[in-house]
């Protein structure tokens, strides 16, 4: 389904997990995709190879999304390399679980910096470009925990709730310029981080999910691709859950 043919996308945190699935799905839909990764060069290289297999162009940038200046640089480099940018997916995110009574200042700051400020950094970098061309799509990966709050996750829940607020505000500003801005809110998704949990913990999560299974990165990616297509041109400022009914 080549609905993104000719489009250029930038995905943060695209070397593994949900980010990787998004990069691959956007490419399968026809887009050329640039992405950032934080440390694993080998994984990033494999993703670029996968894009070549799909007959699309790919570019990987090592960057910490919490760095405001480097976000500007990454976006500039995409424009230099490929001449334009149509889609931004703010996916890079971390969690550092801790109950409120034990949480360090550093744990709070780090998660807020990567998950919320990182989203701001990249959105700020692309906004003038999308506004000037009067077209574009921004999709932010939030979480159901930004809506419902997660146990032992005050930093993560606050950051993701912040991403939701940011999404709506930016949607209002960029709406008149033909740019759609939305958020997707996954529930528990089977990535390396989740696979590492105990079987007991995993079973506990699944018990509360209406569809009886964890999400796959592709489930999130499909929704992102839909939101990046023209089929979703009248959807903006929206938060769509992809959580198998974990939080209804």
């Amino acid at each position: 389904m080549e609905s993104l043919r000719g489009k250029v996308a930038l995905v943060t945190g695209g070397s593994r997990g949900i980010g990787r699935a998004i990069v691959v799905d956007l490419a399968a839909a026809g887009a050329d995709v640039a992405f950032t990764y934080r440390q694993n060069v080998e994984q990033a290289r494999k993703v670029v190879e996968r894009l070549k297999e799909l007959d699309r162009r790919g570019l990987a940038f090592q960057a910490d999304v919490a760095d405001f200046a480097s976000a500007q640089l990454v976006v500039e480099q995409v424009i230099t390399a490929w001449g334009k940018l149509d889609i931004l997916v703010n996916n890079a995110g971390i969690h550092q679980n801790e109950t409120i009574w034990d949480m360090d200042e550093a744990q709070w700051d780090r998660v807020l910096d990567v998950d919320l400020k990182g989203t701001f950094n990249y959105t700020r970098a692309v906004a003038p470009i999308l506004r000037r061309q009067r077209a574009g799509k921004i999709v932010n990966i939030a979480s159901i925990h930004g809506l419902r709050g997660r146990q032992a996750g005050p930093n993560y829940s606050a950051a993701k709730a912040g991403v939701i607020g940011l999404t709506k505000s930016v949607a209002r500003d960029l709406g008149p310029y033909g740019v759609n801005v939305n958020a997707v809110a996954p529930g528990i998704t089977e990535t390396d981080m989740v696979r590492a949990l105990s079987d007991e913990a995993k079973a506990g999560f699944v018990a509360g999910i209406v569809l009886g299974r964890m999400g796959q990165p592709e489930d999130v990616a499909h929704l992102v691709t839909f939101l990046c297509s023209d089929r979703a041109r009248h959807i903006t400022g929206e938060v769509i859950k992809v959580d198998g009914g974990q939080y209804i």
Partner: protein, 246 residues
Amino acid sequence: MRLKGKVAAVTGAGQGIGRVIALTLAREGAVVAVSDINLEAARQTAQEIEAQGGQAIALQVDVTQRQDAEALTERAVQAFGGLDILVNNAGIYPSAPIVEIEEKEWDLVMAINLKGTFLCSQAAARQMMAQRQGVIVNVASVDGKTRTTGNAHYAASKAGVISFTRTLACEMCSYGIRVNAVSPGWIETETLRSKSNRWRQAIKEIPVGRLGTPEDVAEAVLFLVSDVAGYITGEVLDVNGGIFMD
């Protein structure tokens, strides 16, 4: 052709958003049971589907009547062998200030918009449970979520549709049946334009600066009924150009 081999039933498909939903599902390969209280209108939509190379049957269905709601599912199964997709779109949206709403108008709005969704869903769900698969999409409205004036009965009925969507999603969990809603904002249809000029004022409050089209709603429905949305259930998807964000 994302819905090749699927059987869909759409209520209120004789005109407006319902008609475009039926055409869109058919375009993607679904065979469609086109239903409407107006049989002639349903037939026209069915003919349009056939003219674009698809397959359809037309039925007269008054969603407020249990026998009609059951017949919709039965006829779809008879004609096409099963029922994979139900879109509860039939609805009316009269306007009146609360102090002037006539009791029978209140009852009618509730009967068509909310009870109709219940009756059609009940019949379809029984079939889908036996199949252990199926997808239901209810057409709600931004007015079911946000403050509004002049259409309290409509708003309440749509808020009811949203709640019903969630409950149904939870009850259908072990049968592999997904249930979601789309929640349109101001959508440009003949009915809307003929009602009043309120929509001109509304455009100023819509971030994307224009009314939505029936196609915008239909594409969201298409996404929700497709396999790519296989992990989405109990969700209400706003299609409103940003006029309301929750």
